[in-house]
Amino acid sequence: MTREQQREYKRQKIREQRRREREAWEAARGPMDLPFLLLTLILLVIGLIMLLSASFPSAQASKSCNYDPLYYFKRQGAFALLGLFALFWVSKINYQRFRGLARIAIVVSIVLLVLVTIPGIGIWRNGARRWLGIPGTSFQFQPSELAKLGIIVYFSASIAKKREKMLTFKNGILPYGLLLMAIAVLMALEPHASGMVLLVGIGAVLMVVGGIDWRWVAAGLTAGFAGGYLMLFTDLMEKIGYNSDRIATWRDAFWDPTDKSFQMAQSLIAIGSGGLLGLGLGKGRQKFMFLPEEHNDFIFAVVCEELGLVGATLIMILFALLIIRGYWLAIHAKDRFGSLLIVGVTTQIALQTFLNIAVVTGLIPATGISLPFFSYGGTALAIQLVEVGVVLSVSRQIPAPKGG
């Protein structure tokens, strides 16, 4: 090799690298997926309107809200704006960079989850320690919300590397299983059952999609169904001395409508009284100190009451389209990491939507899971929008469809 050749080779290499960098950069600058963005924005707007409608009576009656009927709406709106900025910012980042953040994300998530369980650091509220405050500010957030993102990024990055190794127990099950168990224990310490269900659920789904042996999937599903059956359809829980008010309520929401099944009863009354067309936007009555958590976990009951089956179905269709579009993007993503990222985010939205509506309508026993884009909760909303940004970021690098 002559010097000339060597120099030429070097220049070529540099050109090659620049070309690759340019390619990568250009790929990240591709068009983001408009349907997914639009569906998100529509749901966000409807969600904000419903939050206003659902929350003003309790806000007006509450001293902690300064009797301001717009209290919840204003705060949620601010977080939505913040979240939207974050969404666009994240969507412009080449998602490949998240690979490098994966370890940090999971470590930070676990550290925060540990911190929140420590009395004095985690904020004790409603019989659980789920909140962390940022010193010097009044800002509070739930580490479990952040952990969702952490798990999604870490699992995606890790699983994407493993290919067929996922089929083995040692590589495919053991590390993730241990991690999820650790997180489950931390969540149990808060305690935060619904958060545990979601985190473990997202992780498990990513493992399944990532390619673990079907036998594990079958075993998991069998165990899940068997456990569910024993809990719900036998008196096993009563026998082991578990206070099964929730299950009793699930069986009959009106078994103790003034006390133990009050919330469920009020939810069903709200939904049922809405009928086909609903009482009209803003004209619901159940939100007037009848339905607890009406601006939160039970906001969908207000939706049904005010917009009826038609409005509720329309919103469910929008959620379904968002989820279908998400998975469609996952299928078409450029690489496995991108696919898994989108699957994680979409699954989170899907799980939360299903579980929330299923609880509110009494399809499954009550747990406290919020409805994405609807339920009041600043951090949760902002993080959901960031996650949408991640999906959109991946969507930028989807190769243009061939032909045409």
Partner: protein
Amino acid sequence: MAKKPKRQPDAARKAKLTIQRRTLYLLMVFGVFSFLALFAKAYDLTINQHEEMQERASSQQTQSTTISASRGTIYDRNGETLAISATADTVFLDPKMIQERADELDLERAKALAEGVEDGESLPITGEEYKDLIATELSRILEIEEDTIREKMEKTWSQYEILKKRVDKEIGDEVRAFITDNVTGKNIQGIHLLSDAKRYYPHSTLASHVLGFLNNDNVGIYGLEAYYEKELEGTTGLVVTARDGNNQEIMFQYEQYYDAEDGNSLQLTIDSTIQSYLESGLEDMIARFDAANGATGIVMDPNSGAILAMASSPSYDLNDPWAIYDTRLQAQLDELLTGGNTEETAATDGETDESAEGEASEETETSSEDATSDAYNKLLGELQLKQWRNKAVNDTYEPGSTYKILTLSMALEEGTVNLNSTFNCTGSIKVDGWTIGCSKRAGHGTQTLTEAVGNSCNPAFINIGFSVGTEIYHKYMEAFGLFDKSGVDLQGEAVGIHASADTFTQLDLATYSFGQNFTVTPLQMIAAQAACINGGYLYTPYLVEKELDGDGNVLSQHDATPVRQVISEETSATVRQILEYVVSNGTGKNGQVAGYRIGGKTGTADKSGTKDPINNPQGDVVVSFLCFAPADDPQVIMLLTMDTPSRTTGTYVSGGNMVAPTASSIMSNILPYLGIAPEYTEEEIGYADATVPYVVGMTEEEAAAKLASYGFENYRTVGDGATVTDQTPLGGAIVPANAEIILYMGAEKSTELCTVPNVIGMSASNANKALTNAGLIIKTTGASTSDARVITQSLEAGAQVAAGTVVTVQMGQAGTTAD
């Protein structure tokens, strides 16, 4: 397609395919199936369970406040108010709140004392003083025992203790004033008033059985108040407001307002003037003959069935219906009490007040033995039912001889008898082996039809009945409406007992023909009798002429179409003619009214089941009298019955002797009132009333001329002045035209009182003499035949009255003839 995609290693491609395939499964599960499940559940709730949930929702989300409708007013035929509603207040205590306030006051006082406030203006009263204040003031305003209030105040767990129901507005206002303005300087807490409606009956006892009254919930339970409950009550209005989970009204939420619709008013056929004539007549009659089981009276327009008056005795006060009103009934109560425990008499006075709340039975917690109070309450309940009973409609009786009018009508209509028929009475008649006696044991001998009716001869009527025959007779009874309710607009109308068509025997016919062995209500009876004399038309008796709305618009008007024509106009005319004879010449002579042609029929009926040969050998009877006037063109018909008159009054027990004079006296008031002009015969002229002219200031000649022009021929002067300075009776007084007018010519009118002489038993002319001599003026009513004697006088003998006072004497025959 310039660039070929970079070829990936096999393993990577495989891994990506796995991810894609499994994501597709997820898409199906989370994107489609889960939402189908959610939709199915939402559909079930919003559609299938919609109604149930909506019901649950509205029951918890709404609260309704009722707006009471004003109950309709009841007017008599001339617009006189008989029943009207007004707002009243129910006063109740909230003992819990009172206790709280008392505790608060104690605390405040302790605090004030601690701060060194001296006893005076700014020192709050003690809690105990607060309670005392409430008890004493309310006791004064509401007229309740202070102890009762204290007792209720001690029930501090309660928030609702009624002190007094439906007090008048003025008393309610007084309570309100006490709450806001009192010595504590602050509003009294724990006394509440609840607006309510109270029914007022301006005439108290008048037409009590017709009007009826309301229970505690303002629902009519007797009389027209009950029968026309729907029309009178109106529609309660409703405000439905949304409320939130804390029971607060949601102001900006929906509000539904259903107007209260006031009840409709009723205009009755009852004429309160005629009603009062009837009631006072009955009262006098019962008092005179000591009737054990009261009396009834019905005055009806025979040409429409409109009831002008309907009375039943014993009566009661509509404004206090639970209190025993009749002295005879009250005496039974008193007897029980004095017989049991004398101390309780004091308690009863309080008791009667309490009974206005209808809770008499609960309130009787006196110290006396329970047995006495049980018996007392039982008797009280029985007596209450007795006094509320409208015997003219709710009770049946064997009509007796007044019923003979019907037998007569049937036979005349069927042509089986006529005015030329004759009947022979031997004093008894044998029917199917049974001997039925005539009231005149010796027999009436041979009589014409008219005479037989005039004599009220039973054997004659048996023959008249027989001439009609069982089958047709029974059909006529049905046609006269005796087997059905009359259809009057009152509830609880009774129907009597009678033989059915296929069991109606000849023996039944024999007794039925003179009105025995079957029962009817007085109202059924008068309706049928009216049909006999009004041209043959059976009308449904009725009490409500018009239904009016709040503005007086007529909503409905009674349609007085006859039910059917039972007999012909001609037959009816003959019946009238015969019945006029009964009053002018027969058993009904005491029913005569001077100046009027009266038709009528007397009756003395054995009461079924009372002919107990050992205990009651004579048998209790119902005496009655039916009369109508004018006899040739009846405008008014009246039936009076009296149940079980005493046999020891000296008057022979019969309708003609006991009831007819009362009927005459009532009719003598009703007929002029109805504007039916009297036509006096020559011998009756003295009975005619005339208005005394005002002659003061005139000379004697002028005065005499004026008096003569008014029909007064007799006058005398006192004093010797030139002009009349005073007169007795005063100008405007209505007195019989044969009265002597005293003109004072300058002399002072004597202030000396005159003593009323006893004129009972005298002839009309003798009585006139006696009373005129005493300085009084006679007004005669009743029988005008030459053998008539004074039966009653309106002022008792020995009474001291002013000169010129009119003394009404009832003429009649103290005969011993049975009806």
